[in-house]
């Protein structure tokens, strides 16, 4: 009954930049946005007046003040009114809104940017505010403990701690599987190497249509399709060891239609990467696709940026000629509740 159609327009990621955590930690929001937006546009030879739509992604709860993105916008240079939107989500969903906007065929390019502040004293506690305010949040459970519940559910359905440790090594958070397994539990069964290392961060991207994309980028990363799906929320009503939403999004986006060389997965907690890869495999992801060759986003996780960063890195691999088909994944919410997939291709 439901309808999901995919791209009708030729749209490509033509520019992507992210700020290093070290650089981001020196700047306020305005300086951050000024830096990444100028790098993603002027720095990539994209004229600002060709940008017909701008979307940003951020979250007030990370900064500790309402309307935090409004001040940040000054960095984008907006004294002449622009067509613009903002999502209180990871920048990957800002990309989705921009991609939908470009489907209309009347503008050439769109700018996406996002920022995440590591300003909270206890980000795991902040993230727990995503939980049902009546039945879950008052229990005092934090985001790491929700992830631990999920990891326990995985172990109960056949996953092993060794798998978690392998993910930790791939993310650069442990030197070896043995070393990871030797760590004490922090939130059993999670160890330090299963948790994200939060950081400041920001990213910007430009997407463009058809000939304009070709004119500003030697190897555009064409967005073959995008899809995003949410699971239900209530932790007790879900099989936490699986991600049906990710599998469905990946099927809708046609992940399995062709061979994929690189997949960049955004799973804030290590065990979630195991779930994500299993869901992608069910949806037909090539068994030999390289996982997170960029190193992934967990060693320097900037909330609300990491999802767009995963997709941006999947695009950069095409820009650099290292792959002809890549998949970028973004996630959001407690226990990997919400997932977005972008399938990117090189075209001759």
């Amino acid at each position: 009954m439901s309808t999901f159609n995919t791209s009708r327009e030729e749209i490509a990621i033509v520019s992507f930049v992210e700020l290093s955590p070290a650089e981001a930690s020196q700047l306020d929001e305005i300086e951050t946005i000024q830096t990444i937006v100028s790098r993603a546009t002027d720095g990539a030879g994209i004229a600002r007046d060709r940008i017909g739509f701008t979307v940003s992604g951020s979250c007030d709860m990370l900064v500790g003040r309402p309307f935090s993105w409004i001040m940040a916008m000054d960095g984008a240079g907006v004294s002449k009114p622009i067509e613009e939107s903002h999502v209180e989500m990871d920048g990957a969903w800002a990309l989705y809104e921009a991609w939908v906007r470009l489907q209309h065929g009347d503008i050439d390019a769109a700018l996406i940017y996002c920022f995440g502040a590591n300003a909270a004293e206890d980000l795991m506690q902040v993230l727990a505010l995503q939980l049902d305010p009546y039945y879950l949040a008052p229990t005092g459970i934090n985001a790491a403990e929700v992830a631990a519940l999920q990891a326990s559910a995985m172990l109960a359905s056949g996953a092993t701690e060794r798998q978690f440790a392998e993910v930790a090594v791939r993310a650069g958070l442990a030197v070896s599987v043995e070393a990871a397994l030797a760590e004490p539990y922090l939130h059993r069964p999670l160890r330090a190497s299963d948790l994200p290392r939060f950081s400041d961060g920001a990213a910007a991207m430009v997407i463009a249509r058809g000939d304009y994309a070709r004119s500003v980028c030697a190897r555009p990363a064409w967005i073959q399709s995008m899809a995003h799906i949410a699971d239900g929320h209530s932790l007790g009503a879900r099989d936490l060891s699986k991600s049906p939403s990710l599998e469905k999004a990946a099927r809708l986006a046609g992940v399995g239609a062709k061979a994929t060389q690189i997949v960049e997965v955004h799973a804030p907690f290590g065990p979630q990467e195991v779930i994500a890869l299993e869901a992608l495999k069910q949806a037909g992801l090539s068994a030999d696709a390289k996982v997170n060759p960029s190193g992934g986003t967990r060693a320097a996780q900037s909330v609300m940026v990491a999802g767009l960063a995963a997709i941006g890195r999947a695009a950069s691999a095409i820009h650099r000629g290292e792959a002809s088909r890549t998949v970028g994944h973004a996630s959001s919410g407690p226990a990997l509740q919400h997932n977005l997939i972008a399938v990117l291709e090189e075209r001759s």
Partner: protein, 169 residues
């Protein structure tokens, strides 16, 4: 619930679920320099190298041009009230006792108005176009904050005509 309990406990329709979060605020490069000036009781704006407008407090980028800010410019402590509001309403977390005046003050030589408090006169005497100057806190109390200006007070000079402030509301 027993009948006896029901007699004293009303229906539960809400529950308090307090949340306490702590955040670190980062001033950034440009604002930090301005705040250091405040501690010395000086008003230090910045000039945009592209459009030459003078911003105070300076921001991390020129919102007109989208470029980083240029040279510093020390501004006088006098200016003009372009518009204002008298706050009569009490609310939770309020720092001042109503009534008090919040005003846009265009410092002489600046291109954007600064939002601050007005004191030193009856709230009903405040006018658009009124000339004011910064009233500083004592040197020992100077902070890395705009609060080092306690508020703006009338200078007694003649008002500036509305036509001159119209573009700086």
């Amino acid at each position: 619930m027993s009948e006896a309990t029901k007699a004293v406990v009303k229906d539960v329709t809400t529950m308090a679920s307090p949340v306490s979060l702590k955040f670190r605020a980062r001033a950034g490069k440009d604002l930090s320099r301005f705040l250091r000036g405040m501690k010395e009781r000086r008003i230090v704006g910045r000039v945009c190298p592209s459009c030459n407008y003078v911003y105070v407090p300076p921001r991390g980028a020129c919102p007109t041009c989208g470029c980083p800010m240029g040279d510093e410019r020390v501004l006088p402590e006098t200016g003009t009230i372009t518009t204002f509001c008298i706050v009569n309403i009490p609310f939770e977390g309020q720092k001042l006792k109503p009534p008090y005046v919040c005003a846009s003050v265009l410092l002489d030589g600046a291109d954007v108005a600064l939002f601050h408090l007005v004191g030193g006169c009856d709230v009903n005497e405040v006018r658009m176009g009124m000339r004011v100057r910064a009233e500083w806190v004592d040197e020992a109390d100077a902070e890395l904050s705009l609060e080092t200006i306690r508020y703006f007070v009338p200078t007694g000079e003649p008002d500036r005509p509305l036509a001159q402030i119209r573009e700086h509301i």
